[in-house]
């Protein structure tokens, strides 16, 4: 929006409002606020006069305190913020960022850690189960070796671990059943 006489009027009204709220006396009028040295940059000086005390100006510290107390009302009247509407010599107190009671990163960390521990436990347990099954299988196999086994040489790529060369129909020279080869 453009800065014109109406906006200046609003500004005077806001300053008067701030003074009224701060000192809680209803004597400050819009005519008490004087603007001077208005530039195109939209920057100006202003003073507040006290009509009850014969045209003296209200001390700067009082005006500063009043403005500071009502800063957010003044800002929102002009749709501006602390950064875009600057009062020289009035620094704003900064609000700290909102901190939740438990830091967020701790929550995320907890989730990640739970997933990992669950994964580790699952893998260890499945490893133990596989180990037990392998032990049971090897004891079962030792029991079965007494019986005559059917040849399984029909499978290709037979692992040569159990060299049960019962393939007597291939190596006809060697006696078939009695020979037991040690597994590699």
């Amino acid at each position: 929006y453009a800065w014109d006489a109406n906006e200046e009027y609003l500004f005077k009204a806001m300053v008067a409002f701030a003074m009224r709220r701060y000192s809680s006396k209803s004597t400050t009028q819009i005519s008490n606020v004087l603007l001077c040295n208005v530039t195109d940059r939209v920057s100006f000086w202003f003073v507040v006069t006290d009509s009850s005390k014969n045209v003296t100006t209200v001390p700067g510290s009082v005006v500063e305190a009043a403005i500071r107390m009502n800063r957010n009302r003044i800002n929102s009247a002009f749709l501006l913020s602390d950064k875009t509407l600057q009062f020289l010599k009035i620094t704003s107190t900064l609000s700290p960022p909102v901190e939740p009671s438990t830091p967020v990163w701790l929550i995320v960390f907890g989730v990640v850690l739970c997933l990992i521990v669950a994964g580790i436990v699952f893998l260890i347990v499945s490893g133990i189960q596989k180990h037990k099954k392998k032990n049971k299988e090897s004891t079962e196999r030792e029991n079965l070796e007494e019986k005559v086994e059917v040849t399984v040489t029909l499978e290709n790529g037979l692992p040569c671990e159990v060299l049960d060369l019962k393939a007597g129909h291939i190596n006809g020279v060697f006696p078939a059943d009695d020979e037991r080869f040690t597994s590699l």
């Binding site: 530039t39 195109d40 940059r41 939209v42 920057s43 620094t91 107190t93 900064l94 700290p96 960022p97 967020v104 990163w105 995320v108 960390f109 990640v112 850690l113 990992i116 521990v117 994964g119 580790i120 893998l123 260890i124 490893g127 133990i128 180990h131 040489t153 790529g157 692992p159 040569c160 671990e161 060369l165 393939a167 291939i170 190596n171 590699l184």
Partner: protein
Amino acid sequence: LSATPEIPKEDGRPKWDNKFQYILSCIGFAVGLGNVWRFPYLCQIHGGGAFLIPYFIALVFEGIPLLHLELALGQCLRKGSIGAWNTISPYLGGVGVGSWVVSILVSLYYNTVLMWVMWYFINSFQEPLPWSVCPLNENRTGFNKECYESTAVNYFWYRKTLNITPDIAESGTLQWWLILCLATCWAIVYLCTIRGIETTGKAIYVTAIFPYLVLTIFLIQGLTLPGATDGLVYLFTPNLNTLKNPRVWLDAATQIFFSLSLAFGGLIAFSSYNPQKNDCEKDAVTVAVVNSVTSLYASIPVFSVLGFKATTAYWDCLDRNILSIINEFDLPEESIMRQNYTSWISFLNSSHPEKIAGVKLKSCDLQEFLDQSVSGTGLAFIVFTQAIILMPGSQAWAILFFIMLFSLGLSSMFGNIEGVFTPLLELQIVSKSTPKELLSGIICLISFLIALCFTLGSGSYWIDIFDRYAGSVPLLVIAFFEVIGVVYIYKIKRFSKDVKWMTGRKLNLYWQITWRFISPLLLLIVFMAFVTLQMLKPPSYAAWNPKYEGFPMKEEKVYPPWVQAICVLLAALPCVCVPLVALFHLIKQKRRSKDTSLVSPEVFSCQGAIS
């Protein structure tokens, strides 16, 4: 049909589920954090596109031959690094032990870097991002002093994450939040390596492929950011004059060497799980080419984002100047914009020169902002995080970025851990009945406890030391002995026959020449140049000291003597294994030759290998 030599003998050794898993593991091991944060930096400071020339030459004459050598060795001998070198010659067993020691040292500090990545990852779920705002000081009138003088991003990294001490001699305390992250990282590594390649083989599908997806997303996003083209042009504009500087060639050679993760023993371990009849030549070329292409591919989004950041900083600088001018001259708002800034400046300079001088404008130069090059952790945790704040939807970008870094590092950790794990399994210091889960658990637990010293206040200084001394010089030495050992002690004729048996093709002239002469020579030159450069100036480090006058610049300090001794120890320990083990065997042989007659060493070759 008794067992012919063609049927692979089952020796109970674990094997890869399929060839793709093996290739992916090698690629994942080679492609690591260095591809993202070191290669683009080198490209930038060494003349952009011109750097690709020495890089490509180093790849062809050093990278690919050494890679092929390691893969062929592991595949032929079917053993981890220690066992393999012991088989070639007991005098060379030290090479394997050296690789093993380097793998341990590097695993320790590499996982600590991942710990930082994890810390940033779990902090990325907040709004606003914690590294985007400075915390307030006690009376809430302004920002924390340390943060205000540097930047919010720097403050979060140096104070909130590292809680860094101003000097390496001051250890500070253990940071509990870092300990939690370190425990998580080692738990993740344990989860993935719990049963050796059975589990890493499954995990690698995710950790090796995911970074490429994220890089593509960042590529698309990065190219749409304003200023991205400036960054890319800056990166790739070739400046052929830099090739006259020998430093450029040295950097290219070392970058290729360390980027391919050679001499760690991890590649030997990976290929030892292969069937012997496998084309290792094609594998080597594939892995090396993919690694280099990934480096190039990663540098595009990195430099788009850096260009964006430089442009934003340049605009901020301009805006601040414009504000000062408008305030000083009381001009209306929006009279000076970025586009007509220069014309306004010249006009004001001619009309009111004293007033302009009184405003004390900062010189805003886009080139200057682009020149601020960073590599390593600075790139990821300071520069990139700052750029992410400026992007819309910063939480999502931060989360994606840090998961990508984590996957890149994790897949390299798999290789490191395999380099430690596989030789231990074969050394027979553990009985056969000990489950693998227990062994990997012990390794991870011990590494976690030792790595706790990196969570101290001075931890990041120590990681720099490990990176500079344990992860550089010993690798060059070990690789040199690897090549010499295979070519001149095992004899290249035997090795050629083995490779021919494995791949089915004769070794062509390229491999013969590079293995025999070029690679060892290159390694020797690189080693000597590297050591000379290190010794030129006393080793120093840059400390973050809030009380320093030049703060936020870092303070240059020299390492105290006891730290320098540790540096030398770290670099010398793996190297000294090589002569020590040779000496040990020599003594053993001398003592044995006194009792019995000298047994001639058995002729060993791949075809008859049974592990």
